[in-house]
Symmetry: C2
Subunit: 216 residues, 2 copies
DNA sequence: GTCTATACCGTGATAGAC
DNA sequence: GTCTATCACGGTATAGAC
């Protein structure tokens, strides 16, 4: 516990930035707010991460590789597990979503903040094209390839649009806006990830089947 | 064309603010940027609309009533048109989405900006609860009631979660992020609303049926 | 009433001194 | 590695022109 000052402070800065960016977006947060929440001097964030935009990138990328690797792993495992080589739609979708669910249910609340930040990036016209291509688009391409294999007669456009719908449903789930709590009068909770994912898989699978034709 | 000076400038301010808020969010836009785009003096926006947050509200509310009224109309018409009194899922969903599609296809590009701004509000944890309840939640409640009637055996939680997925798919469509263009290599276009809505209706209907049980 | 010019004060980001 | 000084910018109020 002696030499935690260095790495601990820069981690604290990332954590604080993550939490604030997730809720208020890039422009809704100031370096001073981040420093205050991290309980460090304002200039320390610049010292470690450079400009505000670089800090934003650093926060986004910190967990991106980790999450993406876990995703690829699960996708591969699911593919190998499939007997005839063809996975069911449900298996593919589940493999795509499982790492996100696990991350959100993690004991580390940073993961929830991070995923809300990802939702912000996904929905933003400006950040989307800056940050998504680097790491996440790769996994999406693999996912879409698996879908093509499972839906051999589907038109490519149909698959892409269906992925887009799924992506939207996912983003709103990650965003944790609390709207479903309000609309349902408390019957559903934004924080209930089990409920969200358990229903999302059959919902999305049925949509794919309907729009992309019967799978083999 | 003689006395447009008054209303025209304040309309220009709303239009400019709408466009900028849609793309950059509330905090990503300054009063000076808005004034510059509208080609008016900085202080004029404050004169007409008060504080920045009030301008944001004004932009949001300007088209909200119009859109909401048109939505209710279509929903009602669809209900009356149904012979046995019970609409199909597809009819209900189509009625919910049609006014949005029409708005987006309008000749007035302001509608596209407005709907992108609505998407921003929907996905934002802070604005969502401030702005959505006033006018849009009312229509959503009616929509959910219609769904309950069409899916009499469904559990309420299931319906709410399915609405949540649909809401996410819709929000990402309204947001116009351009991501589908990139992922599909240009095969699909964010701006192709016909494609987006034509597939969204069967996709969502199939998801509802799967998760909420067979409809009557 | 509608609009412009300008000034104020607070805050934010950043660089450079320590 | 830390803190302070600076400078630009943002939101808003005010005074006055048209």
């Amino acid at each position: 516990m002696k030499e935690k000052s260095t790495s601990e402070k820069s981690e604290r800065i990332l954590d604080a930035a993550e939490e604030l960016f997730a809720r208020h977006g890039y422009d809704g947060v100031t370096m001073r707010q981040i420093a205050a929440k991290a309980e460090v001097d304002v200039a320390l964030a610049s010292y470690h991460f450079g400009k505000k935009v670089d800090l934003f990138h650093a926060v986004f990328n910190r967990r991106a590789e980790l999450l993406s690797a876990s995703r690829q792993e699960v996708l591969l495992a699911s593919k190998e597990q499939a007997s005839g080589g063809t996975q069911t739609l449900e298996q593919i979708i589940e493999a795509f979503l499982l790492p996100l669910k696990l991350a959100q249910e993690s004991r580390d609340p940073g993961w929830r903040n991070y995923l809300a930040m990802v939702a912000y990036v996904m929905a933003s016209p400006v950040w989307n094209e800056v940050l998504m291509p680097n790491v996440y688009d790769k996994r999406v391409t693999e996912f879409i390839d698996a879908l093509k294999a499972a839906l051999p007669h589907a038109k490519e456009e149909d698959i892409h649009w269906c992925y887009h719908y799924m992506s939207g449903a996912l983003a709103l789930t990650l965003a944790q806006t609390g709207r479903i709590d309000r609309l349902s009068g408390g019957k559903c909770k934004s924080s209930d990830f089990d409920a969200a994912y358990n229903r999302m898989i059959p919902f999305v699978a049925a949509g794919f089947r309907k729009v992309c034709g019967l799978d083999s």
